[in-house]
Assembly symmetry: D3
Homo-oligomer: 299 residues x 6
């Protein structure tokens, strides 16, 4: 194709796109020598975590009792290296110079956090075991734990959440949110990394589920596709913008079931053992043991 006919346009557009005023808001000014957050590397990190948490299912390794230490050893080493770098990228992204006086200081912090995260992996595996059991027990179509681990999007979304939540608790900026959004894109399940979730948690099908940042979920809770645990309204500051950081999402007590497409909104409490029917909009507290349903459809 004769491309050069329009080369003037190309050149002048490049100039225009490079102008500082045009780009300053949307450009990530990179400090040379610092790593930057990378979705590709984070995907590798998640693969490594999954291969450590569920050996043999993820990571394409021929794991057995004899050789498992080899595989877990190599993958832990690699995770440590990549995670240290991405945590540093997160710290650099925020670049809180009140906290870190030098790149070297952030580097030390990043390595320390990565080690602490790795230290928590056995604990993460323990709680994920309860999630696998809950998914298996809760779904008549599930044929084995193995099928649940291999195939259920909920396990992938919850794994990413528990990893992201742990990193967030260790003080890592940005990276936890990126990890959550990777699961969101893969499964359609959107859990904010700050959400607190108990053991034996399961989500069936999952597409469209939204769990907000300040939500608190007890043990043995089951939710279905399309469920929103969201905010109802946001108190505004003097500029008319929402005030950040206020508790604004529901508290779900133990043993609650929420059916598909229900929306639970605001800092309300769904009491222990309650059942929320599908396709409804709940903005007030629900007592323990209650069953809330949609009003009858008309024909």
């Amino acid at each position: 194709m004769n491309l050069h006919k329009y080369s003037e346009i190309i050149t002048s557009t490049v100039t225009e796109l490079s102008e500082y005023e045009s780009v300053k808001l949307l450009c990530l000014q990179h400090h040379e020598g610092e790593p930057y957050p990378s979705e590709t590397i984070l995907q590798e990190i998640i693969k490594l975590c999954r291969s450590l948490l569920f050996p043999g299912y993820f990571g394409h390794s021929n794991v057995n009792r004899r050789n498992i230490t080899y595989y877990l050893g190599v993958n832990t080493e690699k995770l440590y290296e990549l995670l240290s770098e991405q945590i540093l990228a997160g710290l650099c992204f925020i670049c809180d110079r009140t906290k870190y006086v030098s790149l070297e200081g952030m580097r030390e912090e990043a390595v320390k956090i990565a080690a602490e995260f790795i230290k928590s992996l056995p604990e993460l595996r323990k709680i994920l075991t309860t999630d696998v059991i809950a998914a298996y027990n809760g779904d008549p179509a599930a044929e084995s734990y193995g099928e649940v681990i291999f195939c259920y999007p909920a396990i992938r979304a919850i794994s990413n959440h528990r990893i992201a939540h742990q990193l967030l608790k260790l003080g890592v900026p940005l990276i936890p949110r990126m990890i959550s959004e990777m699961a969101h894109s893969e499964t359609g399940i959107d859990i904010h990394p700050a959400a607190t979730i108990g053991s034996y948690f399961t989500i069936d099908h999952g597409t469209g589920v939204v769990i907000g940042a300040t939500a608190i979920i007890g043990n043995n809770v089951k939710i279905y596709q399309g469920v929103t645990l969201g905010a109802k309204s946001f108190p505004l500051d003097e500029n008319g913008n929402p005030i950040k950081g206020i508790p604004r999402h529901p508290i779900i007590k133990d043993n609650v079931i929420i059916y598909s497409n229900a929306s639970i909104l605001g800092r309300i409490t769904i009491g222990e053992g309650a059942t929320i029917g599908g396709n409804i909009w709940v903005t007030e507290d629900v007592p323990a043991g209650a069953r809330v349903m949609q009003s009858k459809a008309r024909q």
Copy 2:
């Protein structure tokens, strides 16, 4: 970065993660020499199937009448080889030693099933043709069959379903479910491979659709995004867990339309030609020709 400062932690965590008690539930113990289920290879298999069913649209091949046999030939050969291996992986995963006395026996079974699957491809193409026609006719925005094949997520989800359903009927474990979940992740449409679906089936937009394992869908049915054909409740066994394998999803008769976000739950029947409005929750039979709608919203 100075990573070695925390190397003690790494080593002890590897040891802890490798301990049999910790890992036994979540570890796929691999038998050396057997293939294992691989999402990457299954994606290749789906690509090959799509390139055989819709030549020229998928598989980046310059197909025309003169050379079509070359391309279909090479792709069929490759499909045969990869599919045999993944079917074997599925058989090994279940490892039903009451049925197969040796790896060699499973190997022979796998090859036979793969050949039978390939034999059914022309039939699969025929029914998928009806799905393409239905999608084109049903959407005023569709400009050609080609656009439908190239762009509509429903075609991808239904193709995967028809492939997975065929493999499930041929007795392949696990693999069909993995294929369904791949479509679920790609399109947000979650169809259990065991669901029975007639011809001229179409799904508009599709995100959030859920079709359960025992659902039965007639011919010429159209459903919209967010529709659930789900279970209402599960009879429990003596341990309080759901009994597996009971018919528990709806029967949708011919010529039914179900609008967005409707939930049809339980072993009920939606009669021929009925219309189900959006955002509603249906748990009882709907007679043929009926129109069911949400109760009026209040202002």
Copy 3:
């Protein structure tokens, strides 16, 4: 595995699949020498656009004020080349011989459109800036513009939409729809490329959102996950098929908020500043400033 036992089946299936009658509807007959639409290349094109619109965030480049022209220059050049080819592929796909008498003519048109698209990039960046600001201001959980750009699926979906919409306005067939569906698969947000959308547009969470081809959205509109701006019914032609091209989706005026899973259907108007509650089904005009909610759930 002993694969040759069933080689007869393979050969006869290849023959059957290659027969013209069987394949003619589903086969893209490729004209040798013409490019064909490629999802892989379109993904590269989207990556390049994102790297030009949000330098440093996408494209893994170490951009700073000193070197920005290098990176934007190289990426613009590459975009120009790839986009010209894919636009040509789109033109060839439709192959409107009443409009173009030769491949050479389509080639010239493709290059011209690609240049015009590139010329519009600074304008696209300007309006996307308003979307980023809207997402940040509207979400108490957002911590910086950077986090919004990096992590929010809405930004990806809206970017793809604005790119696709621009290409559609420039007369490119097929390609815009493919770009929309790529965003749909990545984010669960399905915006038809023909939809008209004003500035400061934001979508929270987004999974399950559907915006139809003839929808018109004003400035400063916010919608939540699962919202449908759809058609209600389609006037049928004499063959019982929907008539294509009729305005059939809603008009949303400035400053409207629509909560999760609401369905707004048909060519109705939601008046300026109105609020639509979640999980409801709206098929009639809503006056400016009104608040529409679901009828109360029963316990």
Copy 4:
């Protein structure tokens, strides 16, 4: 690492390297829209040729009598497409505007040459068959034709030569030389694409062999590693530079053997059936049937 300390140097070096005077001799000025010669694509082309000439040995295909047409069909199609493009790249590189008035004209020529080349493949296979037989018969260590095809560098170098020679005869610039140099790098055997070589030609070991552009080699000739068939001296033009295009390399008659590291230089003739010993320097005609050896070493 703190890279920005020296960013001034980077910027000023980029400017200096981009100055026209500095770069004009060493820069390939690319005409936008034209393909350029690509080693990567040529390597793909050579792989395709090898897979067509020696099916099953190269190209990783599971070829057998039943499916061979599929594989050869697909690979020929692909070869045709890639070769047309690279031939065009060669024509553009020379850009002889006295011969071609437009890019379109070169395009037509390129496609025509590619088709003619493909037409000659069966003939190329025939003569390469004689080379394989010669290599097998001539080496006591060779265990089968298959081993010769798989392992012997001579077969790779001679294949590349026969392909390059054919392209050169069809008038393709540059590309033949690139193909020769690819074999040179892979095997250490450097045969100029213009050299004329008869049937049943074999080279043992081969590293360091050089065969010049105007060399003529008869049938059934065998040479060893390190043999040079070179030029002795070059007549100079008035500027003191060698005159191009004069016959200046040896003529080797049928049934000659040349042992390792011998140098045969100038337009001399080695008579039929002659034997040239190793490590010698021959600059005069050698009569048919003669044996030429190095003078005795001294201890």
Copy 5:
């Protein structure tokens, strides 16, 4: 480009190339289900061997005393799997049905040989250690063992040789020769896998070295670039073809040095401690301690 003009030629050439008579000599008839020899996999195998023999230098692993078992464990597992498959490919290639009655039998043999090979790796590392020491001591330009391992082509060629020689001794067909030729292509050093080579062996620079199948080399031998240890003449059988398998290459005793481009030909013996000058042609025994040189050049 308008490629279809010549599509007739393509089709008829494919037919011609697929004809059995044309292809039978040069086609590897593949038995479906059997693996075939693969240069790509063998390159992976060599990489794995190198990473096991010289940990940290090859294989890009961050090896240290703490984690070495992880890396060696994973790489040994992978080597075992890939090598078993390629040994089977070699056995299938020869397909000696007098020796193996079934594919299953060859499979068992392949696994057994792979395990035996792995068992010999510590021994291979021991002798390669002597080669590294010899290269370091023999070259004034060498600055450390590390530099020798990283950079010296001799180490790569000798590693490949010792691996190939071991596989050949274990009865593997074809594969050893392919491994030798891979080193030949990489380094220009051509050592037949059957050659017997003692410890502390080194080759300086190496390009053009040829060591024949029946050569026997003692300990502490050093040779330079371009040296041939070749055959002089081949006894012919009744058909005029060389008789295979006869000892026909030199015996080099301990502590011999052979300078660049010397050719030592035939089953002669170079006595202990002898020195062979460069560029000479030796076809008779050389006594221990002797120095053989080229006759004086004339000016």
Copy 6:
């Protein structure tokens, strides 16, 4: 395949290979957090250098006068980053703690050297221009400068040498030698990075050429394939090992030609304008203008 039969062997071999005594000499003990020398990255570095020195020929970029700054800018930035890292890897490899007290110190040194190297690129391009001219003028078969740059192995080998020599002069350990060996493997030309080479240098064909570390080559020198500029003998130290660092390779004055396979050995001088014939062994000074030839072969 049933691989687990021999798993005992695998496990015990891994243990044996990991033992410190066995591995200590051949293992590169990696300090966590430091980069290590990587052939893959060095190959990328060489590609970047070639794309900067010969824009348009290497690096697959569509360079023209309008856009050249974009491409050179991006490639220089990338070169700077990768080279800094590999220089640091070289410094860590040697790990001269008498010179650098900390990793941070080596890091700063690495960045500084990388910037200095980049600063010298325009000078490197100037001298490489003379080499291209010399190759073109010296070979009657060369048809354009472009062909020389694209195809001649000498240009690749000399480019690598001039790059490696510059890095060596800037004090970089190991990396220069690796770069030389990469050219050696690609072209069969082995030039030690410490060798000093004047302008207008050319090598014809090149396979087997060896140029030693202390060789000094004047301007306008031409050498042919198989030429060795080597050492004759090495003074030994008290332990019988060669003393490192002594001048031991030839000095070649301006305007000398050396024909194929000649060996020039020891610290001798080949006088200005001398011609050295092929296949000879020269160990004594040759006066200016002299012609040295092999003694006559006998028939």
